[in-house]
Amino acid sequence: MVRAYRPPDFQSALTIMRENRAIPLAGGTDLMVSRRRWSGLSPFFAKPVLFIGHLEEIKRVEIDITNIKIGSACSLASLLEHREIPEVLKIVISQMATPAIRNIGTLGGNICNASPAGDALPVLYAMDASVVLQRKAEIRTLPIEKFITGPGETVLKDDELLTSIIIPKKSYNVGFYRKVGTRQANSLSKLSFQGLARIEEGKISDIRISFGAVAMTVIRSREIEEILIEKSGKEIEKLIPEVSSLYSAVIKPIDDQRSNIRYRKTISLKLLRYFLRTVLISKIG
């Protein structure tokens, strides 16, 4: 049997976490699959389960002048319908899993699952997202890349809950996302690419590039992005080989049942060049 708690409110949830070190379950679309057993038997959870998917306090989207704050238990489908969610994030979410899973799966769950192929991660890394973590007496905020430390690994403490995701408001005028999976709908990524940029007066004023499923965690390098700042179309064209080889050094995919090292690496770099040359430079003109 699995012991499970369904707290009436968020504060009770924190109390239960402190007392039981439970496993938080929001939508359960990853947990229930990974822990399923012989049909008819309960899934295996070594620790008690805490249901949090119904807690209103972490199902809200709050907007202020500088940030968008998304409750960790917001379902993916609800974000697609929300007027204030940035279009670049919606593009990503709309390609995640199936409508049924998006109805119950949450953004917080996708982050805490910390899969190298987690679909929401590259865009969150690119948008400088932070996560808000809370336990009974403490709230802390971390950049997402500090939160996720490896495949399936985060710095979440065993009595702590991810409560919200903070995305700084920025306006990008170039966005390019590509998820490469075996099938267009409902498949896991072999690799993914996210490019965001702002072009002002024929030059790049802001650029963010991230790669999913090609290393232990999402790849984003501010140092390499820096090279492209304030550059014109012509200058970028010249920089493509250098930038490409810098990313090549950090893209370290694996061979597995879905794809192989060579394809993942080659296509990631092809998408990078496609973004820089075909999307970005053509936009700069």
């Binding site: 012989w38 490469v180 099938r183 394809y263 080659t266 296509i267």
Partner: protein, 714 residues
């Protein structure tokens, strides 16, 4: 019933399946029923040195080789596969024993405490390794389940005078059935009899396997098919194995025992389509005409022979495709490896052969700078021509008419020319395939092996029972066979009753395989209905019985493989249009067209369903259905990793049937179930070839393969 028989009616099983009240094996409950779970080999090849079994609580049982009362071999063409492993295991997933009991938790605990001591033996994982024979053979002396050769004309003489000789090698991969309902059986032992309920295609295969395994008379064994949620060949031979398991367990425990696989177990342990390597050497004369071909077909049969030799035969008999080649040599071998046994899957050897031959025709055309379609057309078979086995094509061959139709529907010629101009921005391509499927069992199999029997019974209330062993597994047999009988008897379809077969009630009308059900069994039912009609008024209850009689024209020698390999052929042509992403090499299917000659369609919508399902499954095989085995273990063992097409994956399919009539089929029907699968892969691969201007030599055509091929050629 008036008008054409093909006019569609509502499919009989639609309501219960869409309504969710169809009862599958997993829905069935019996009093004090026990659960069973299988302990499987974790080694690809090993001797079993010993097994430690913990103390088993009251009411729990271990069922293993010692509990097989009869012969511990699953009845197959060759009896080499044990129900439970004896002193050796030959593949990962091979069943060693069952743990049976009332509580699943406890069963899992017992399983986790059993320890098997293995002594590893050097395994064989690939066709190449099996051929090299660098370890003790798994089967026989040469590791071949079958090694056949057939010859037509004088290939040596023709190769001797050839102007050009071209060689190509093609490879095809595994394919998994992914029937929605996994394998499952329930065994019951009462009153000195065993009854097995389960998801299956062939109740009498199962019954015969139980006769051998139990060592009992057939009168003590009853097999009942339960509503089957998809099969595709996967429930042809495999159910015999697990029917044995539940039967032995039920006898031992004295209680009903149920064994139902989960998806992972089903993928890891059950049969798949045979991977193949097919090498074709072709001789051309000065006029760019093929004068001879030498085909070498190698298949990975896995650890036990199963149906490998007949799958291989079907591939060999298709080795020249729809083309008239006067001089042919075909060698076929099915090798034993320490992979999961390969088995029946829609097409049964045909898809492998047709992929190779169609791509080879394309490559030959390129080689002699001819348009591939024109090159194919000039070699096309015609009525009266001889097949690879020297059989005569007695019925009409309407390939030219069908090709014209599909060219018109798809605008192939114009698109082919347009797409052939190299344009790196948009990589579009179009491809065409021509193919056939030999209907029903090979050669004289229907007469010599199957000997189908059917019964029709008029009840007092005027309703008519169809008594046959064939099953509806989603393909529509319940609907089409009812339509045939109703029409012949001039009674409403609703007055014809056709229950899931129960071997206590129905005669052996043969297995539901080889696209034979409508053509062979349906024809017998039609004859039975004619007889019943004549005797309708003679008594309140009338039963008629019919036995298969082979049409007089069939000549076949099973020893030499000479003569009419099949009673008749169904034909098809497909066009597929694709777009290939220039950055990621992903393939998007943009258009699909098909024209088929299946004789008379008994129900047009059911045929359309077979066409659309077959093409989709074939395109999955050709593109995204990647299954690899590493050190004997299947890597893609979930539907998360083994991806099949979904309904969004393809555009609409435009298909047409041409008028055709076969006098030994009911109302002129031939075969249709497997045919539409066969042409999809070569059409897709040809389209990709057209788009990228590279030679496609294997399926699945993955983006990984395309990227490497494109890089290799640059």
């Amino acid at each position: 019933m008036k008008g054409k028989i093909g006019k569609s009616i509502k499919k009989i099983d639609v309501a219960e399946k869409t309504g969710g009240y169809a009862r599958y094996i997993a829905d069935m409950r019996f009093e004090s029923m026990l659960h069973a779970k299988t302990l499987r080999s974790s080694k690809p090849r090993a001797k079993i040195k010993g097994i430690d079994i913990p103390e088993i609580p009251q009411g729990y049982y271990i069922v293993d080789r010692n509990d097989v009362p009869g012969k511990n071999r699953v009845k197959m063409i060759v009896n080499d596969q044990p129900f439970f492993a004896e002193d050796v295991v030959n593949y990962i997933g091979e069943p060693i024993l069952l743990v049976v009991g009332p509580d699943k938790e406890k069963i899992i605990k017992i399983l986790s405490e059993i320890k098997v001591y293995y002594e590893a033996v050097k395994p064989v994982f690939t066709i190449e390794e099996a051929e090299k024979l660098n370890t003790t053979p798994i089967y026989g002396e040469d590791n071949c389940f079958a090694d056949y050769e057939i010859e037509k004309g004088d290939p040596d003489e023709a190769f001797g005078r050839a102007a050009k000789i071209v060689e190509n090698e093609y490879r095809t991969g595994y394919q998994e059935h992914i029937y929605l309902e996994p394998q499952g059986m329930i065994g019951i032992y009462e009153s000195n009899r065993v009854t097995v309920y389960g998801s299956m295609q062939c109740p009498y295969f199962v019954k015969n396997a139980l006769i051998q395994g139990l060592g009992w008379g057939g009168d003590r064994i009853r097999v009942v098919q339960t509503t089957t949620g998809g099969a595709f060949g996967g429930k042809e031979e495999y159910p015999s194995l697990i029917a044995g398991h539940v039967a032995f367990a039920a006898v031992k425990a004295g209680k009903p025992v149920r064994l139902i696989f989960n998806r992972k177990e089903d993928i890891q342990a059950t049969t798949k389509r045979h991977p193949s390597i097919i090498r074709l050497k072709t001789a051309l004369d000065d006029h760019k005409k093929i004068i001879a071909t030498d085909v070498d077909i190698k298949m990975d049969g896995g650890a036990y022979s199963g149906l490998s030799n007949v799958v291989l035969q079907r591939a060999m008999f298709a080795a020249t495709g729809v083309y008239n080649i006067p001089n042919v040599r075909v060698r076929g071998r099915a090798f034993a490896t320490n992979n999961v046994p390969s088995g029946a899957l829609r097409g049964f050897g045909g898809p492998q052969a047709f992929f190779a031959i169609e791509m080879n025709m394309h490559a030959l055309a390129d080689h002699v700078s001819e348009d591939p379609l024109d090159f194919k057309i000039k070699h096309m078979l015609k009525k009266g021509d001889h097949t690879v086995t020297g059989g005569v094509l007695r019925q009409d061959v309407k390939l030219d008419e069908m090709t014209d139709m599909v060219l018109g529907m798809s605008d192939y010629r114009k698109k082919y020319d347009e797409f052939s101009k190299n344009d790196d921005q948009v990589l579009r391509g179009i491809g065409l395939s021509l193919f056939y499927h030999g209907c029903a069992f090979t050669g004289s199999g229907e007469k010599d092996i199957i000997k189908a029997e059917v019964k029709l019974k008029k009840r007092e209330d005027g309703k008519v029972l169809i008594l046959i062993a064939n099953v509806d597994m989603g393909q529509g047999a319940q609907t089409t066979l009812r339509k045939i009988v109703a029409r012949t008897l001039c009674i409403p379809v609703d007055d014809v009753i056709y229950e899931n077969p129960d071997t206590d009630v129905v005669p052996d009308s043969g297995p539901t395989v080889a696209s034979r059900t409508v053509m062979i069994v349906g024809f017998l039912l039609d004859k039975a209905a004619q007889e019943l009609k004549a005797e309708w008024e003679k008594a309140p209850e009338v039963e008629v019985h019919k036995v298969y009689e082979q049409p007089g024209y069939i000549r076949w020698d099973q020893e030499t493989f000479e003569g009419d390999a099949y009673p008749v052929y169904s034909w098809g042509t497909n066009v597929v249009e694709v777009e290939v992403d220039p950055v990621t090499c992903e393939i998007k299917v943009k258009g699909i067209w098909g024209v088929y000659d299946v004789g008379t369609a008994i129900d047009e919508r059911i045929i359309q369903g077979q066409i659309e399902g077959g093409i989709s499954q074939g395109l999955g095989y050709a593109t995204i259905e990647v299954m690899n085995s590493k050190d004997g273990k299947i890597l893609q063992d979930s539907i998360t990793d083994y991806i099949i097409p979904c309904s969004m994956y393809f555009p609409g399919i435009e298909s047409k049937l041409i008028d055709s009539y076969y006098e030994y089929g009911p109302y002129g029907a031939k075969c249709a179930g497997e045919l539409p699968f066969i042409g999809a892969a070569p059409a897709l691969a040809s389209a990709v070839q057209n788009a990228l201007n590279v030679q496609i030599k294997r399926i699945p055509v993955t983006p990984e393969y395309l990227m490497e091929t494109a890089e290799g050629e640059n």
